[in-house]
């Protein structure tokens, strides 16, 4: 039970952080991406704040024997840089730039009842399913 609560609490705090930072407002996101227009650098501070905290906490926690509740850490091990990484990133960036929603904020604002996000999120989930079904690497 404690595991369920801790995971859900992480998700809840994550969503609140997105709200406080205003990542939940697509116009704010588009203002950040609009570097040649009326640029709003605020979201660089979101990334900065999050990276600052995690840069400190990650090495302290990940060098421990195991996490508090799970039997082991589940951390990415891949180091190779392939075409998929660049192309996938670029595709995601195009979609992000079109609507101002990345996955976390889209899910959060859809839960908050924002109509645009309620349209965006199902499409995004279909995209996730399609990619995992048809574009997954053959070796995985």
């Amino acid at each position: 039970m404690i595991r369920h609560i801790a995971i859900a609490l992480s998700g809840l705090i994550f969503a609140i952080g997105l709200g406080v930072s205003q990542m939940t407002r697509p116009e704010k996101v588009l203002g950040f991406l609009d570097i040649f227009g009326n640029w709003d650098p605020s979201l660089a501070f979101v990334m900065g704040g999050a990276v600052l905290v995690y840069t400190i906490s990650y090495p302290l926690i990940s060098k421990r024997h195991r996490p508090l509740f799970a039997p082991r850490f589940y951390l990415p091990t891949r180091k190779d840089i392939d075409k998929r990484l660049v192309i996938g990133g670029a595709l995601f960036g195009i979609g992000w730039g079109l609507a101002g929603f990345c996955p976390g904020p889209a899910l959060t604002t859809a839960s908050g009842g924002l109509t645009s996000a309620l349209i965006f999120v199902p499409a995004m989930l279909v995209g996730i399913l399609v990619a995992d079904r048809f574009f997954a690497p053959k070796t995985a």
Binding site: I13, I35, N38, A50, Y74, L129
Partner: protein
């Protein structure tokens, strides 16, 4: 679109996001990458906690957070940007496909990956940032989408 520079609330929100990712790492040893967590909901092989995959609890928490925001700060889950379904649906599909092909999004690569000094995440982050900025430049120049 009225945009206002808000460095303090932005940094504070970022710190809260970093703490949330820290809590998930410390308790479950998992990376808080939202696209990967969403994808994990649909994977048969996901580790389960009881009847549900562990990802379901994180998503439930995020949904709870969204509902909470609606009551505490409704302006944060509203928007001035009006986009049609014909615009939002392709955008959503591309985001979904792109995050899976590229193995992550702003949270997994951008926040957690950069903090771990992952070269993969740096490449992915540069790729999606550049593509997003170019996309916004083009849509703004053509006066379409959010800029129309």
């Amino acid at each position: 679109m009225v945009v206002e520079f808000t460095p303090i609330s932005a940094a504070l929100g970022g710190i809260i996001i970093g703490l949330a990712a820290t809590l998930l790492l410390a308790t479950e040893g998992r990376i808080a990458g939202i696209s990967g967590i969403l994808a994990g909901l649909f994977k048969g092989g996901s580790d389960k906690l009881g009847a549900l995959p562990w990802q379901a609890f994180f998503v439930a928490g995020m949904v709870g957070g969204g509902i909470l925001l609606r009551f505490l700060a409704p302006e944060l889950v509203a928007t001035d940007v009006q986009l049609s379904a014909a615009w939002l649906i392709p955008a959503g599909l591309i985001v979904g496909v792109g995050t899976r092909v590229g193995n992550g999004c702003t949270s997994g690569h951008g926040v957690c990956g950069l903090s771990r000094f992952s070269a993969r995440s740096l490449v992915a982050t540069l790729s999606f940032m550049a593509a997003a900025m170019i996309t916004v430049f083009i849509t703004r120049t053509l006066a379409v989408g959010a800029f129309g």
